[in-house]
């Protein structure tokens, strides 16, 4: 870490010492002073487009200056409450509202809208505007998930800058110029990026809103629960929003170690199955509803003592706790069963020190082997983009097909024959970029969706890492693949020829083998594959689940239920314990915490399980009072 010069600034009489180069708005945050912003966002480069952040800065010209583009300097004195600054901000707000529809009552942003808040805190109390306002079609669908309301847009360009800087996409632009500027998708085509949903969180007003959440509720109706996304192995932190027992919205929850406040569209929009009225809720044996005891005894009879004639299909998002209980079943009554996990890569459990996601930021050279990061590990992909475009890292991609990282002009893309990635990695040792990398090297490897020989590829990457002093990151795909690998349940067996099948989660990808005579299903949605199932057990969805996931870098994170699992739905640890009892293995746990403590003791990789953090997020510091002319 290079030494950073610290400077002293005075903001409204508070002296604050910050690293040189900190922006005035950020320095003010440290002492709890609010400088309102629209275009500035701490994850985007400052542009100074909206002038909402005007403050008085001395020494300097006697005009209000934008605090979001001005870095602090030693001895700088910032006044946010001087008459000039206060009036300048109120005037800017008045301009913002000239064409604003102020339809807050029907605006999905109403209640969590910075424009509302700033108008209350920094604006004029009454409006002088009674002229005609600009009107547009309301709303304009930007994609099946996102609606655009041009009337409400304050032209802060956060959305287009995000698309440009962070997502490296060109789908969203500003059409026209000057007062006629409007946000538009390229050629009016629907947005297709896997990262489009983040512009909903970024937009400071109700111009970009979710069409799935459209008019579902007002923000103040919702109960929110901090949780973890269950769609892939990155483990982005999310907030789940619930109203009247329905999961109505998923938003990002900033964790700088993992997601930096971004989530992909799968995590954001793929939640409607939770509220599906067709959800399975009652156990059924041969199509008729029954009690859990009867159903579980039927399952136990069907799968007991089958040895290798029993096949088990595991979901990709089983929690560490479920995996631990399942491991005990595999060690006991279900010994010898064939296990196949959904979404599993062929990569083995990692050994030795691994690269963490946040370390990608500091890498000078990043090598990505055999992984379509955009779809397999989306938020790691954004981290790589940040390291390359904002921190100047060099990027080498080894992949047979075009990938979205090719969009950077300096990306070195080595197109290998499928199956030949290991050979290409071996050749890399002499690559010119790796001669003098000038800093850490990061190697991220996948399994080419099964096209590569994983063992050979891992060996080649480890060899290269040793040669150039790089750190490795295996790119798992299954949500809790890493945790399941560490617990030894992430099987990769073929289920062909089994006589009894327990499909937990979605049906096996290869379909139900024809040899199956007894088929038990444990799923949350009815599916055509359940047609001939002997037993159907209802399962919880990710929004009702408690437990933890281990993400691809080995970090254990806790899921919290946003929606109650209402009886007869049962939590899966409970079901597993009862199934074990029916199979003759007494597993007596009174709740999930004893399971976590026992798993933490038995598996060092899960030590974090013993101390689940408090579910309460840290309180946000209160900002200093209003400044209104």
């Amino acid at each position: 870490m290079p030494d950073v010069k610290m400077v002293n600034v005075t903001i409204d009489g508070h002296v604050v010492t910050v690293p040189d180069g900190t922006l005035v708005v950020e320095a003010a945050k440290l002492v709890g002073i609010e400088i309102p912003v629209f275009c500035y966002h701490h994850k985007l480069d400052p542009v100074g487009a909206c002038r909402m952040c005007l403050v008085e800065i001395s020494p300097g010209p006697p005009v209000a200056q934008a605090g979001c583009i001005r870095p602090v300097a030693d001895g700088m004195v910032v006044k946010t409450q001087s008459a000039m600054a206060v009036q300048a901000r109120a005037d800017i707000l008045e301009f913002e509202l000239v064409n604003h529809p102020l339809d807050c009552p029907v605006c999905d942003k109403g209640g969590e809208c910075p424009l509302q808040d700033f108008t209350f805190r920094h604006g004029y109390p009454t409006s002088r505007i009674d002229g005609p306002r600009l009107h547009f079609q309301k709303p304009i669908p930007l994609s099946p998930n996102i609606a655009l309301d041009r009337e409400r847009c304050v032209l802060c360009y956060r959305c287009t800058r995000y698309y440009d800087e962070v997502a490296w996409e060109q789908e969203l632009t500003v059409a026209e110029r000057g007062v006629h500027s409007v946000i538009a998708s390229q050629f009016d085509q629907p947005l297709t990026s896997n990262f489009s949903g983040n512009i909903i969180d970024l937009c400071p007003v109700g111009a970009l809103t979710s069409r799935l959440w459209r008019f579902e509720s007002r923000p103040w109706d919702l109960h929110h629960t901090p949780s973890v996304c269950s769609k892939c192995a990155v483990g982005c932190n999310v907030t789940l929003w619930q109203r009247r027992g329905q999961l109505v919205r998923v938003t990002s929850r900033e964790n700088d170690d993992i997601d930096e406040g971004w989530i992909c569209d799968r995590g954001r929009f793929d939640y409607t199955d939770v509220n599906d009225p067709a959800r399975l809720r009652v156990p059924a044996v041969h199509g008729s509803k029954t009690t859990w005891a009867v159903a579980l005894n039927t399952v136990a009879d069907g799968i007991k003592g089958k040895g290798s004639k029993l096949g088990i299909s595991l979901p990709q998002d089983l929690t560490n706790e479920e995996a631990f209980l399942f491991r005990r079943l595999l060690d006991g009554p279900l010994r010898g069963a064939k296990v196949k996990m959904h979404g599993r890569t062929a990569l083995p459990a990692p050994s030795g020190e691994q690269l963490m996601i946040k370390d990608i930021d500091d890498a000078r050279v990043i090598i990505i082997v055999a992984s379509d990061t955009e779809n397999d590990v989306p938020i790691v992909n954004l981290r790589v983009k940040k390291a390359v475009s904002k921190r100047g890292a060099k990027l080498i991609v080894i992949h047979p097909d075009a990938v979205d990282l090719d969009r950077h002009r300096e990306t070195v893309h080595i197109r290998n024959q499928p199956g030949e990635a290991a050979a290409e990695v071996r050749k890399l040792a002499d690559h010119e970029l790796l001669h003098e990398p000038g800093g850490p090297v990061a190697i991220l490897y996948g399994d080419g969706r099964g096209s590569e020989d994983a063992a050979g590829l891992v060996a080649a990457c480890t060899e290269l890492a040793a040669k150039v002093g790089a750190k490795l990151m295996p790119l798992y795909r299954g949500t809790n693949e890493r945790g399941s690998l560490e617990l030894g349940v992430a099987g990769w067996d073929s289920l062909d020829g089994v006589e009894a099948l327990l499909s937990w989660g979605p049906p096996p990808t290869a379909g139900v083998p024809a040899s199956v005579k007894f088929h038990a299903v444990w799923d949350h949605l009815p599916r055509p594959e359940h047609q001939n199932a002997s037993v159907v057990l209802p399962a919880t969805s990710f929004a009702e689940r408690q437990g933890s996931y281990t993400n691809l870098e080995g970090r254990v994170q806790f899921l919290r239920p946003a929606v109650d699992a209402e009886a007869p739905l049962k939590e899966s640890w409970d079901v597993l314990c009862e199934l074990a009892a029916a199979l003759g293995l007494p597993l007596d746990y009174v709740g999930i915490f004893p399971i976590q403590r026992e798993a933490a003791k038995a598996f060092p990789a899960l030590a974090a399980l013993a101390q689940p953090p408090s579910p309460e997020p840290e309180p946000v510091p209160v900002l200093m009072g209003p400044a209104r002319p």
Binding site: P132, H135, R218
Partner: protein
């Protein structure tokens, strides 16, 4: 005994029997004539009241007049063209101090247009058992959709019937109340219909 504020308190806890009864007035001795006079005086008051006009109202056959601002049962209003005023914004529910309003909103489509704007209330329910008739909902409503009418006789035979649904709330207001609300000048005029198809680019209209 003085407490910390300097006030004296009588330490005696309770009164004993007879204590505190005012002493009989001295002087006038009891006499028969005096008693008869007192009786006559009382009867005179009774008789004079008997011939005055009656103030008792024969409820429920007769009703007392209601103040114009009386806050009775709620109504949801409609515009002249029949569209519902309510835009499903839930501001009434947010203002309600007892939380007895449930609004679930939905989006208007060209095929199914319920209210003039983008949004309408798919479900609108008021739990009349909880309502304290404070009128905050009426005050909060940006389009004067929910109003409290003059009816106060809301008895019924089951708790469920006190959950007033949208259907019940949309019953027309008594015409005189509606006329008064319109005459107050607070009424939002029926919004102009949206041009069909709506404009793609900017269009200036008077608000």
């Amino acid at each position: 005994m003085a407490d910390e504020n300097g006030n004296d308190h009588d330490p005696t806890p309770l009164r004993r029997p007879g204590e505190g009864v005012p002493p009989k007035p001295e002087g006038e001795k009891p006499s028969i004539a005096g008693d008869v006079a007192a009786l006559a005086g009382g009867l005179k008051t009774t008789l004079s009241e008997f011939f005055k006009p009656v103030v008792t109202t024969m409820y429920p056959e007769e009703k007392t007049p209601r103040s114009e601002r009386y806050r009775g049962r709620h109504y949801l209003r409609r515009y002249d063209n029949g569209l519902e005023r309510c835009i499903g914004c839930e501001l009434c529910a947010a203002a309600c101090p007892v939380g007895c309003i449930l609004v679930i909103a939905a989006e208007n489509t060209d095929e199914k247009r319920v209210s003039p704007g983008e949004r309408y209330a798919k479900t609108y329910e008021i739990n009349m058992l909880r309502c304290i008739f404070c009128g905050y909902c009426e005050e909060a409503c940006p389009v004067q959709a929910i109003v409290l009418g003059p009816e106060y006789e809301l008895s019924d035979t089951s708790r469920e019937k006190f959950i007033y649904t949208k259907e019940k709330l949309l019953e027309p207001l008594p015409p005189d109340v509606e006329a008064r609300l319109n005459a107050k000048g607070t009424a939002v005029p029926t919004p102009a219909p949206l041009p069909n198809p709506p404009p793609q680019g900017g269009r200036e209209t008077t608000p």
